[in-house]
């Protein structure tokens, strides 16, 4: 099996072009937007919105406080009835969690629901269990407005949940800029990115 790229080498490639309907008609190219040989990495200063979210325990929490408890944060956006990209993103988090070994106690993995009306705390718990989420990996829901505010603040909003794209956000410490990875990052790549971020 051919690896897409060697570990430790980051490509600042362009994201695959947005496929228009006309392009979809004639493309036979396997390198569609769904199969990036590239992942795009940028650094952005995001402002965490002052919203409350709900953990899968049912507890209402301030997102700002959740993300600013001193731990580095690795974040993605999911919904529990997504059967296509979220299982891969969440499985990647699960493998990342494993590969960290004892270091995992120092990280905060954050998965935020983009379908909060369906994703009740109970459904999130079942979803988290599927991926063996440890105590350092929290899933969040809340009101529709709160979820939208978070998505918009982090440039993750695509208009509706079916249009969501794979996205991982990392931040070493409160106040730092965020590393934004667009595309399907592999567990090894995520691990490398995380370690390099902490090393700075």
């Amino acid at each position: 099996m051919v690896r897409r790229r060697s570990a430790g080498v980051w490509l600042l490639a362009l994201t695959a072009p947005f496929l228009s309907e006309a392009a979809a008609d004639t493309t036979n190219n396997a390198a569609s937007a769904m199969s990036p040989d590239s992942v795009t990495i940028t650094t952005v200063n995001y402002v965490v919105p002052p919203v409350h979210l709900v953990r899968d325990t049912g507890q209402s929490v301030s997102l700002q406080q959740e993300l600013d408890d001193g731990r580095p944060v690795v974040m993605n956006f999911v919904f529990t009835t997504c059967a296509t990209t979220c299982p891969l993103s969440s499985q990647t988090f699960a493998e990342f969690q494993n590969k960290l070994g004892p270091e995992r106690h120092g990280v905060h993995l954050v998965s935020i629901s983009i379908d909060p009306e369906h994703d009740t705390p109970q459904r999130l718990r079942a979803y988290a269990k599927k991926f063996h989420a440890g105590p350092q990996w929290q899933h969040y829901t809340g009101t529709l407005q709160a979820s939208l505010a978070v998505q918009q603040s982090f440039g993750a909003y695509r208009g509706d949940k079916m249009s969501h794209t794979p996205l991982t956000l990392l931040r070493a410490a409160p106040g730092d800029a965020w590393t934004r990875i667009e595309g399907f990052v592999t567990p090894d790549e995520l691990l490398n990115c995380y370690r390099r971020l902490l090393a700075r």
């Binding site: 897409r4 695959a16 008609d25 569609s32 919904f79 296509t84 499985q91």
Partner: protein
């Protein structure tokens, strides 16, 4: 949820195996059982013998069992979907083995977003290679999302047979010139609401057909996609009769005699289950019927509902009860309902949602057609420490009389009680909350002006605005979705496209928002708790924000 699906998958596999062996003498039998094995792999990620399907993505991430199943991405129809910035392609035999076409205009393939048509067709060998190694017909890698599967030759052959089987060329209820729809009416549906619904449906179909041109030619050209589909819509009204045990047989007979593409809207009374189960068995989309008590089976496929109805109301009430500061001091939850109505099921749901130590759960069941005195009699001992929940229709609400009730709170069902038109006596109003599973009147006004304007122009009398607005909404949703499907009339695909497109819709009638997804069957998830602002009239006031109870 995963365990539940695995058990169902095993059961399905067993059922399929039994089905196959019953036709042992026919030469087609090996093909039938291959399709069954293929279906089990495709839909449930289950190999013969109950072993899970195993795969691995190029990034090294493993998948097995139900999450490895092809259906997750390629969908039940096999026609794929849009996802994020790209598409998951169709993989029915028709698409996989079709000769290369350089332009959609030259193709007789039905229109599907994301179809890869400008490539060499697969052969059985190259398809097996694609599934095992993720390599396309021109030697390039497939998407990183596509796993590399471990399938032996027999399993692969069975899966490919199933993919060929997914090709649908003849679809019931679809001809070049017409689309046939059924609307299903149960005998226990409220006759006024039945008439209200039918007046909307008949006028909607008439208007659609007035706009349609004569015979629609097969849509060959990409550019012709811009024209609205010109098929006429035909409505078949299936009015069921007799006891509920007889309905499935009646529906089967109807479908055999009048093959339809889908069931649109429709209306039920207290028992919709036979209709729901029939549609699931027959593979007939059942699209947004007017039912106050739907069937809750989120892992089924063909029935789509606007909301969970009175079950949602039970959830709203339970939520509000639990939020009350004095909830722990409430002694009794007393629920009142008529024996022959949907209140019984709603009351059971509320009991299970509000159960706690120290809380006495009381259900007072009024006989069907009982007297007003009977109703008033059930309330004699209500006092402080009681929460009273009335699952009652307008007639009973009006008969509550003027004696003030001394319960801590009273709750009524908006759906059963006629929403803000509930004839709740004035002395009850300052203590009564209503479960309200819709958007508030002033917030929905602009959206509801659309159907109201249409009713006015078409001279459709408005006798139940909520039912009629919902019916009009169902027609509009289905019409829009079909327009986007162009000439790809496949029943499963209709359901999948509604799932995908619904969230985009801005004009959503009585609902603030509608959204579905694979595994979601109820488009509106919440509601309000409201009370009447004044002793008389229809002005209501919300008690807090929109609540999503489940």
């Amino acid at each position: 949820m995963k365990a539940h699906t695995s058990v169902r998958a095993l059961a399905a596999l067993c059922a399929l195996s039994v089905g196959a062996t019953s036709t042992v003498s026919k030469p087609a039998q090996p093909q039938a059982s291959a399709v069954s094995i293929g279906e089990s792999i495709y839909r449930f990620g289950m190999l013969p013998g109950g072993k899970p399907l195993r795969g691995e993505r190029a990034s090294g991430v493993p998948v097995d069992g139900t999450i490895a199943a092809c259906v997750n991405c390629h969908r039940r129809s096999g026609l794929g979907a849009a996802e994020g910035r790209g598409y998951i392609p169709p993989i029915t035999g028709q698409f996989l083995f079709h000769p290369r076409v350089s332009s959609r205009d030259d193709s007789d393939l039905p229109y599907v977003d994301g179809a890869r048509i400008n490539r060499e067709p697969f052969t059985e060998q190259t398809l097996a290679r694609a599934i095992r190694q993720g390599i396309g017909t021109e030697g390039k890698s497939l998407s990183v999302l596509m796993p590399h599967y471990a399938l032996d030759d027999a399993e692969m052959a069975a899966l490919v047979e199933y993919l060929k089987h997914l090709t649908k060329t003849q679809v019931p209820g679809v001809s070049d010139s017409e689309l046939q729809f059924a609307t299903i009416i149960t005998p226990d549906a409220n006759p006024v609401k039945v008439k209200a619904m039918l007046s909307v449906l008949n006028d909607y179909f008439d208007e659609k057909n007035a706009a349609a041109r004569a015979v629609s030619p097969r849509l060959h050209s990409y550019h012709k996609m811009m024209f609205r589909a010109t098929r006429k819509w035909r409505l078949h009204v299936w009015e069921l009769t007799g006891p509920a045990t007889a309905w499935e047989a009646q529906l089967q007979a109807r479908l055999a005699a009048e093959p339809v593409f889908a069931a649109l809207s429709g209306i039920g009374g207290k028992n919709w289950a036979p209709v729901h189960h029939f549609c699931e068995q027959a593979g007939l989309p059942c699209l947004f019927p007017n039912v106050e008590l739907p069937v809750v089976e989120e892992n089924e496929f063909y029935s789509l509902y606007f909301s969970r109805g009175v079950l949602l109301e039970a959830g709203l009430i339970a939520h509000q009860l639990r939020e009350q500061p004095q909830w722990s001091t409430v002694r009794r939850l007393v629920q009142v309902y008529r024996a022959d109505d949907i209140g019984a099921t709603a009351a059971r749901m509320l009991e299970s949602e509000s159960r706690r130590p120290g809380l006495q759960l009381v259900a007072r069941v009024l006989k069907a057609g009982g007297t007003d005195a009977g109703l008033v009699g059930t309330l004699k001992d209500i006092g402080p420490g009681d929460e009273l929940v009335l699952w009652l229709r307008p007639k009973d609400l009006a008969a509550l009389g003027n004696q003030p009730v001394k319960a801590d709170d009273v709750w009524i069902s908006g759906l059963m009680g006629a929403l803000e038109h509930a004839p709740l006596p004035s002395t009850w109003r300052n203590r009564t909350h209503m479960a309200y599973p819709f958007d508030l009147p002033d917030k929905r006004r602009v959206r509801v002006d659309y159907p109201l304007g249409w009713f006015r122009v078409r001279h459709v009398p408005v006798v139940d605005l909520q039912v009629q607005a919902d019916t009009y909404l169902a027609c509009g949703l289905v019409s829009e979705t079909l327009n986007h499907m162009v000439d790809t009339f496949v029943r499963d695909y209709l359901v999948e496209r509604i799932e995908a497109m619904l969230e985009h819709r801005v004009i959503t009638g009585y609902y603030p928002r509608l959204a579905l997804a694979p595994g979601q069957r109820f488009a509106s998830k919440g509601g309000y708790s409201v009370h009447f602002a004044e002793p008389t009239g229809a002005k209501i006031v919300p008690e807090g924000d929109w609540i999503v109870p489940f």
